[in-house]
Amino acid sequence: MTQPAVVEAPRFSVERWGRTSVLAVSFAVALAVGFAFVPLLFSLNTTEKATSLLILVLLAVMWNALAGYGGLVSIGQQAFIGLGAYGTVWLCNHNWNPYRAMIVAALFCGAVAVGLSPVVLRFRGAQFAIGMWVIAEAAAILVSLDQSLGAGTGTSLIELNYYTPTQRQHDTYWLTFGITVFFLALLFVLLRSRVGSSLQAIRDDEEAAASVGVSVLRCKWILFVVAGVGCGAAGALTLANTLFIEPTSIFGVDWTAYMIFMVLVGGLGTFEGPIVGAIVLFVIQNEFGNNGVWYLVGLGGAAMAFALLAPRGVWGTLEERFGLRVMPVGYRLRRQS
């Protein structure tokens, strides 16, 4: 009797870290360390611009967490942006230190998200999208009815006048830097955890994920609350960076237009994409200024084009074409020789 020939099956190993990702993470850490020194190396003007870039990154990352991983398209994240900013004003009116107030206001936005979650997370698709939009509009009306918050005409953060311009710009930058890095790191850790695998499954197919036992609602809850805190922080930091806010602009739907643009251009549902998108928007804003009409036509048109023609954005397309996995948030199979 002859033994049947054993054909050895190709062996695979599951790996998370490749050479590119080790390099990329080292590079990202180095870049982050470099960014920490911006105020010491550059002028106040540059520091202000770097602050607004980091705020854009934060917003894009938060919106991508919601839409890209949770499948939650929100047109109302400006509710949290506005509440973060106005929460800071309110706390400062009650003799809080402005920087401490910003953090507490962001956490307050998280609490608001927790409060809203049992209701809004039951909404599906367009109901969630427009439901959030209505909440943002309602919040804007409520704030503009409050005389102590400057009503409809807006308000400024006078408490920051106690600081010298240099000190103020530096502190604002470092707080922005710290918060943005914190959220990027949080998302990185989250995506690598068990929750992350669930999130990536939900991103790819919500019903299939639910059918293999992923707790879809719990995952969405985590994202919604994290994005609430993140957008609230972005609002508070925008206030600190620009010093003046009014309800119509801080609660404006333009924020959502920017977030959608950044995430779609960069790459919906990728870790790196929103950062790329934020840089693209930042460059456009600085090159073309906010010179109104055609700039916005271009933003809207680009968002449409990417949604229809390249739904994975610049980064997602690159990843697909070259098999790149830069940040190690997923797994890949490697055939062992």
Binding site: I141, A303, L308, P311
Partner: protein, 288 residues
């Protein structure tokens, strides 16, 4: 008696919302998508009427006649070029692409027509300002009554179209199950294009009445979209007559809210909308 008057005025106001909402409900019913540029398309309709009036000294109602075919074609093109592709790409893409379209439309309108607030009330003649008084406290504006009549006529027409005609039956079949409808020879893409063309043309009618009854400007669309969507949701998402009721409930909420405090009307509408959504979510949880 002022309360009765508020309710009457709210019902009249609801006519505009119902008219705006029925195109939204039609597209949602057939394709399960919400067109976030719907309000902007209504505003486009109002501006097109304005363009016609610049060239001919006629009534705005007559000026709508050449606008309607243009909007039908625009809707057809919107479906074929944008929404067909968006539908294939999953549930998020229709929302994202129509949101992008909405920004594009608003800013092109701004570029072409300046940010000035316009109204067609002046050109519509006495019907825009006339009213019948029922009692001392209650009066019914002629334009408000006309809008309600038109809204009922449009909804009734749609209902007849859906139930009595071959094209309407195909639309209902596609709405229920596009794959099965395809099996029996219905071209679902043609049905979708027809539905969107109709929805966009009805949006133009709503835009005309919005322009006569109050005012419009390049960025007026999103507010109208929100109101229309609120009417659709309050009305139950899928039924055409529900949409009429939803529009009127929203209208009444706004006028009664405005009576409580002049700054409350829109807020009151939002609160009613959110309460309906929350209630429905709570009931849904009990059932499941």
């Amino acid at each position: 008696m002022t309360w009765v008057n508020d309710v009457v005025q709210g019902i009249l106001l609801g006519g505009v919302y119902a008219l705006l909402a029925c195109g939204l409900a039609l597209m949602f019913g057939v394709m399960r998508i919400i067109n976030l540029a719907h309000g902007d398309l209504a505003v486009v309709g109002a501006y097109l009427v304005l363009v016609v009036l610049d060239h001919a000294n006629i009534s705005p109602f007559l000026a709508l006649v050449p606008v309607l075919p243009v909007m039908l074609i625009a809707g057809y093109g919107l479906q074929r070029i944008v929404l067909d592709r968006a539908l294939r790409a999953g549930v998020l893409v229709p929302l994202l692409s129509t949101f992008g379209l909405s920004i594009v439309i608003q800013n092109i309108l701004l570029e072409k027509f300046s940010p000035d607030v316009r109204s067609l009330g002046g050109q519509a003649g006495s019907i825009a300002t006339g009213s019948w008084s029922v009692t001392n406290a209650i009066s019914i504006s002629q334009i408000g009554a006309l809008i309600v009549v038109v809204a009922i006529a449009v909804l009734g027409g749609l209902q007849l179209f859906l139930s009595r005609t071959q094209a309407g039956r195909r639309m209902r079949a596609t709405a229920q199950d596009p794959d099965t409808a395809e099996l029996v020879g219905v071209d679902s893409r043609a049905v979708y294009a027809r539905a969107t063309a109709l929805a966009v043309a009805i949006a133009a009618v709503a835009g005309l009445f919005l322009a006569i009854r109050s005012t419009f400007y390049p960025f007026a669309g999103p507010t109208q979209l929100i109101f229309a969507f609120e009417a659709v949701v309050i009305g139950g998402m899928t039924s055409l007559w529900g949409t009429l009721a939803g529009g009127m409930i929203l209208g009444v909420a706004q006028t009664v809210g405005g009576q409580i405090n002049t700054q409350y009307p829109v807020l009151a509408g939002h609160i009613v909308f959110l309460a309906v959504l929350a209630l429905r979510a709570a009931l849904g949880r009990q059932i499941s």
